[in-house]
Symmetry: C2
Subunit: 452 residues, 2 copies
Amino acid sequence: MSNIIQPSTLSGFMELEPGDQIVFDKIKSTLEEVYRLYGFFPIDTPILEKSEILLAKAGGETEKQLYRFNKGDTDITMRFDLTVPLAKYVAKNRGELAFPFKRYQIGKVYRGERSQRGRFREFYQADIDIIGDGELGIVNDAEIPSIIYTVFTRLGLEDFTIRINNRKLLNGFFDILGASDKAGDILHIIDKIDKIGRDKVREELCEAELTAEVADSILDLLCNNANDEEAFAKLESYVGKNETFDAGLSELKEVSDYIAKFGVPKENFRIDLTIARGLDYYTGTVYETTFNKHPEIGSICSGGRYDNLAEFYTKSKLPGVGISIGLTRLFYILWEREYLNKTVSYPADVMIIPMTDDMSKAVEISASLRARNIRTQLYVERKKFKQMISYADRLSVPYVIFLGEDEINSGMLSVKDMTSGEQKSLSLDDTVSLILERVEESRNSKCLVFDK
Amino acid sequence: MSNIIQPSTLSGFMELEPGDQIVFDKIKSTLEEVYRLYGFFPIDTPILEKSEILLAKAGGETEKQLYRFNKGDTDITMRFDLTVPLAKYVAKNRGELAFPFKRYQIGKVYRGERSQRGRFREFYQADIDIIGDGELGIVNDAEIPSIIYTVFTRLGLEDFTIRINNRKLLNGFFDILGASDKAGDILHIIDKIDKIGRDKVREELCEAELTAEVADSILDLLCNNANDEEAFAKLESYVGKNETFDAGLSELKEVSDYIAKFGVPKENFRIDLTIARGLDYYTGTVYETTFNKHPEIGSICSGGRYDNLAEFYTKSKLPGVGISIGLTRLFYILWEREYLNKTVSYPADVMIIPMTDDMSKAVEISASLRARNIRTQLYVERKKFKQMISYADRLSVPYVIFLGEDEINSGMLSVKDMTSGEQKSLSLDDTVSLILERVEESRNSKCLVFDK
């Protein structure tokens, strides 16, 4: 060929090297395992949908970021989240689904955002939602954070906090202060407190034409709590003044109580009255999740309770509660900070290197090892010894089996531990036991490490 | 909302009901497990690529079927297979990869084909390839079918045949017949033998300006073999006449020998000299896989050896061998013929139904069961007993635990076997043992059943 096209990948599209991909996949399958453990169904909706479906709600700002095109007569958009496709799916299949419908979906979504470090145009979201038909019990709101706790601890994440709030409580509170017409502004300003600080928030609240007294009440209640007990004590003092507030407080208490009963340790969740999660979707419980040591990262897992999942596609009221992990972004953050456990990123537990022209015995042994569920690579190229060992080394396989005339005749295998460099002569059975021990160890090791 | 948009999915896009999705995912993860067992790396390339990359090779016919669009200044195409992205990936990362590079990728690809039953515009392909740098040993050509054999038997497929041929052998044979300028036509006609039959093939060969004698030689050698021994015996009679033929025959023999040594039973593979797999890509071993009882389905898994994976992106010669399963189509075929094992398609091993207002005990038990890796659904809605049981029934969960005052006080659980209808009073430990037995059974059951 004379014309070589420079091989490149679109910017903003993550494409990992094979070793990192192993860790990514292990993280992804940990999520799947945990979602299944809680009895959630998988669904897999298309990446392409009719634009009229995906954009039933979307405004102008969102539209600019879309991958939208025509194919024949059809106006098509690539999905930009997994919530709108879920709404369509549930509305479409309402008659066949059993409610509450618990589903997870992990898939790629697309946003044509400005390209910048750590921002992706194609990225995985990992969503779980529980959808009710007409109504949905509040204990579900406590189960969702317990799922997130299980996911993160199984990954090896420590030192994270699931923050919980309730939108009814906030709205009721603003009503009590006579500021409910400014609820939107207040929530928007309060949402920035971690970024801009208390003083600047107070300033902005006053700029939003709230009195200094109201601004202080807001700040005192929402932003000054050492722990959940203090928050609840302050909240109690407002009880009886507003029905919405009282309902929100009662929900928040119930959710908080049940979260503990689901087994989430006290240090991993707390009430944070500053959390609002946008303005027009969530109606009750809201969640964010932060790394204690890396507040600058912001929330790595957010969601909440909504009243009406699919109002654009059905007249049925479908309330739900759910949460989403931005998996690609989370992976990037962990990768960048070197938190990935690279010791799990080899593709085979053992490599067999035949030293004879006839590779029959090596092939047979590879079949025996695989029958014992040992991931086995068979190296069948005719190269110099040094090159073969270097290949095994680059793949980080923990064991290599050499198979020459001597080994074939004696029936004993030369097994090299690539970590220690030690080489032993072992029977096939002993080799299997040795490798399986390592496999078990690797299976139990987590995707992330934080001890460096 | 006043304007309801009818929820619908684009035609040609598979969107499964949740129970079927469980079986689909189980099939997909069986593929992944087996690919890993053979020491393959995962990779995950983007669904979108620059058009100049994806279309470096493509001709006009292919272009019509593409999802191609502009975003800003960028001409973008959705991938239509996983081979071109692999070529790009390997060319781009050649310096960092260790060769042979063994990778699998399971992902969605897009073709805007005419919509018809069983044809999909978005579908999963599941590919494995082994790529060499400059050269690649022939034993790899035998390992690939052994992977396919393991995949299909683990899925529960029986009665399938992996068919093997060699392009060098075919090309050399046509050369011997003095028909090498017609090799393309001949391969094209021969490829249709299963569809149009021997007589029609002979007719078409003659129409392609081959003599009746040559047409008969082709048909006698390629299409008339009772078994591999007969095929090899006939092939032997041409040895010494053409180097390419001799090389192809020697490769075919070696591959056939090694396939058996990899543990593939004789009844699951055979030489089929009619297989060619298109004209311009494969250069050595070629594979197809067919259901013995359903020849009308055609090949469900095809591939072969190629000389140059990435000629459009690099001057390096990168030979490879690989195979692809059209997973969505295969699933559809199995689904349509009711071969899916629906007995595995429930989302939870047990459902806990609390019968008291305070659900604390139920929540705690759900946490214990999940800690034992039992998939547990907790039903927290306040409904009538009949509705709750009907929900458990619709989800096909095998066990339900009822938890009322009596159970909470006695510490004994009421456990209902939903299959037999039998209800027992059991301790938590005995409940765990009972459910785990069923979990184990379900884990060992295959995705497909053929005994109906």
